[in-house]
């Protein structure tokens, strides 16, 4: 039992030491680590804005499309009444221009796929940011573990802890101190 207590004490001391070390080197990287999620959020906001705007444009295009289809039906009705040649000529011209408009609306619609293409590029930027974060974790871990003879699983544990800290999902110093107190440290 005493042996286990000693091991736990040692572990907690190590945790405290690790927290201290990370705090020392955290400051210079804190700004960049904060910028990563902020930037990713900004990009996500841009993507949402693009999506909403694209849908608004599509709604307007659909309204124009609906009107053009109604015009087309009305012109067809007027043509069916056998109008005099001069009026028929005008009506046929309106019909032709209206069909061109319908085709242009569809063309505009398909150009809105720019949102999808831009979105894919922005997703790539978010992936790059994630990779930078991962590299940042490696830098911190290599500083924390420098000159120490640590096993692979210990390094991996430290890496997880640093990653937690960068994600701001860490236990507080108070929690660590409370635990240490319980073991009389």
């Amino acid at each position: 039992m005493k042996e286990i207590e000693e091991i736990i004490k040692e572990l907690l001391e190590n945790v405290k030491e690790l927290e201290k070390l990370i705090d020392e080197i955290k400051k210079p990287v804190a700004e960049s680590s904060q910028l990563i999620p902020e930037t990713a959020k900004n990009i996500q906001d841009v993507m949402t804005f693009l999506e909403n705007t694209s849908h608004s444009i599509m709604n307007l295009l659909e309204r124009i499309n609906g009107n053009s289809k109604k015009i087309s039906e009305d012109v067809d009705f007027l043509l069916s009444l056998n109008p005099v040649p001069k009026i028929r000529e005008r009506l046929e011209s309106i019909k032709e221009k209206n069909e061109q408009n319908l085709s242009t609306i569809l063309e505009l619609y398909t150009h809105l796929s720019f949102h999808d293409l831009a979105g894919q590029q922005l997703k790539t930027v978010i992936d790059v940011l994630e990779r930078i974060k991962s590299a940042l974790v490696d830098v911190i871990v290599s500083q924390v573990t420098a000159g120490k003879d640590l096993k692979e699983d210990q390094v991996s544990g430290i890496k997880g802890k640093v990653s937690e800290i960068l994600s701001r999902d860490r236990i507080s110093q108070e929690d660590v101190d409370r635990l240490l107190e319980e073991f009389g440290l």
């Binding site: 569809l106 150009h111 720019f114 949102h115 997703k123």
Partner: protein, 127 residues
């Protein structure tokens, strides 16, 4: 070349809502209205296993399950393996096209595309 009958049931798979809407509108314009949507391969596969579809139009890059995996899953399923699949994607490299063809897509469209291109590819698939 004849187009497939207008009553065929089509599944459009894309994680971008705008892209799904564009494809749906073009299909409507071409005379197709029996269209359903899925946001990724996983969702699409679940739909394909619970309802009968005649044609799938899928994107490549999607979360959860990408289009390429979806095609492979379709080709490995005895009930779905003959389902025609058209890939509509921004991936425009030669190796991408080859990879998609090897996975079993029936045709391939690079975004952005025109209604004429979609019509032409559908005609080829259903000839």
């Amino acid at each position: 070349m004849p187009m497939p009958p207008p009553d065929i049931k089509i599944l459009v798979v894309d994680d971008m809502s705008t892209m799904r809407r564009i494809i749906r509108t073009i299909l409507n314009q071409l005379g197709y209205s029996n269209i359903e949507e899925a946001e990724n391969g996983k969702q699409a596969l679940a739909k394909l296993k619970s309802e009968k579809f005649d044609f799938v139009i899928t994107d490549w890059n999607m979360p959860e399950m990408d289009g390429l995996t979806l095609v492979k899953e379709i080709r490995n399923d005895p009930e779905l393996k003959h389902l025609p699949v058209l890939m509509v994607t921004a991936e425009a490299k030669k190796e991408n096209v080859i990879e998609a063809l090897k996975a079993g897509v029936n045709n391939y469209i690079v975004k952005p595309f025109t209604p004429e291109v979609l019509k032409e590819k559908m005609e080829k698939i259903f000839k």
